[in-house]
Amino acid sequence: MSLEYLLYPGCVASVRELGYEVSMRKVFEALDIGLEQSNDFNCCMPACLVHSFDYTRGLALTSRNLCIADEFDMPMLTLCSSCFGNLSRAKYLLDTNDDLRRDVNGILRQVGKEYRSGVKIEQVITALYNDYTIKRLKDRIRNPLEGIKAAPFYGCHIFLPSRYTKFDDSEFPQKLDSLIKVTGAESVDYHEKTSCCIGCGSFFGEISEKAAAILAEMILDSASKQGTDCVITSCPFCIMQLEMGQIRLKSEKGVDYRMPVMHYVDLLGLSMGLEPKELGLDIRRSDMTPLLEKINPP
């Protein structure tokens, strides 16, 4: 059974985290998962921002993307958990509230669109877990990452709130851990596994950056104490926040965690035997050298 998705690129991955986009495309190609493109999408319209200005019109703007996926008659695939959260939220609210759906469709009608339920929304992680499945991933591992300690960092919108995303247990998520174990790496248990990078609220300049650095320190400190080789995220926004946090901690407090932060597809790609350069690992903020040398001793 071959899988195919309509790719929803989002802004963080396609503008700020190109290395991750390179990696994700390479890994999906190697897994024979098809990706269709559309240049008709608009922004997922971050709820914390656009829906703050106008709740109903914000929902209509987000739902416009669901209408496009409906026209393609394909499941959507987001690169970013924030897009996944926004689109899943819109779908949940419209599917469960007839009044809201009527209002939103009243607005969408002005641009010749109508929201109909039934669009399937996946994120890179949920697609690998739900659709590709752990069982099939196991067959693709060529270079098991034995001896590597990888700390899963779930991020929020992949599984919260559970009523919108329906992906994992809301208090004790395990699916990213399971995906990490497939690669042969050890999945590290640590206190901050389900903490938050606050990337999605990071638009208040200094106070947001300060709060993000405090959280990044808690997360990195907790992971480091377990002898972690790399932090594995499900979301490009978490990568960006944890990397920028490290840069700030180094310059302000002289604390250098030197912790490689990467997306799960990076780890998966390495375990499938793909080259670091093919996975865009040479264009990251983190220095991946110590990790790569531990995986493939020079």
């Binding site: 690129p9 802004c11 963080v12 396609s14 503008v15 700020r16 190109l18 390179v22 495309r25 493109q37 240049n39 008709d40 999408f41 608009n42 922004c43 709820a47 914390c48 921002l49 656009v50 703050s52 200005f53 106008d54 709740y55 109903t56 019109r57 209509a60 703007l61 416009r64 959260g85 609210l93 009044d99 809201l100 209002d103 607005i107 969408l108 002005q110 641009v111 929020c156 919108h157 919260l160 709130p161 919108y164 809301s170 903490s195 938050c196 606050i198 999605c200 609220g201 638009f203 208040f204 300049g205 106070i207 300060k210 709060a211 993000a212 405090i214 959280l215 808690m218 865009g280 264009i283």
Partner: protein, 160 residues
Amino acid sequence: MVTSRELLGRLIDEKKLTYCENCGMCTASCPLARAIPETYNPRILLQRVIFDLDELIKSEEFWLCAWCYKCTERCPQGIQPTEIFLLTRNLAVERGYIPANPRAIMQEIVRSGRSIPVFEDFDDWREDYGLPPIGPTISEEALEEQRKIMGEEFLRRLRT
């Protein structure tokens, strides 16, 4: 079209706000309350939505919520602080209280269709890494539809 106030009642059931028992589960779960407790406390914000709404919407702190939804997931009374804060921001915007940073990002979304600006020759950079072009803005058609969906009132609020 319904007002934000009516939406608050329709989506959340405004009565339920008074079900808050002040247990503090929201604050205990909140990443921002951990990082900057002197500035951000969702339990107190929720109390102010009930008792001090008119003053609350003039402040900037309730805009800091990063909508991680941990409070909403855990509230033993089923109150949804995350969605309530979104609706509260709607009330603030209706009355003209829009902090500078959210306004600037919204203006970028109106201009380019993206929350992160893309410089003119960004696609050259993407091409170097073998990635398909995304354009300096979303497509003209998508921008036009976006403007229509936002509507005059929405765009006017951003300009003033």
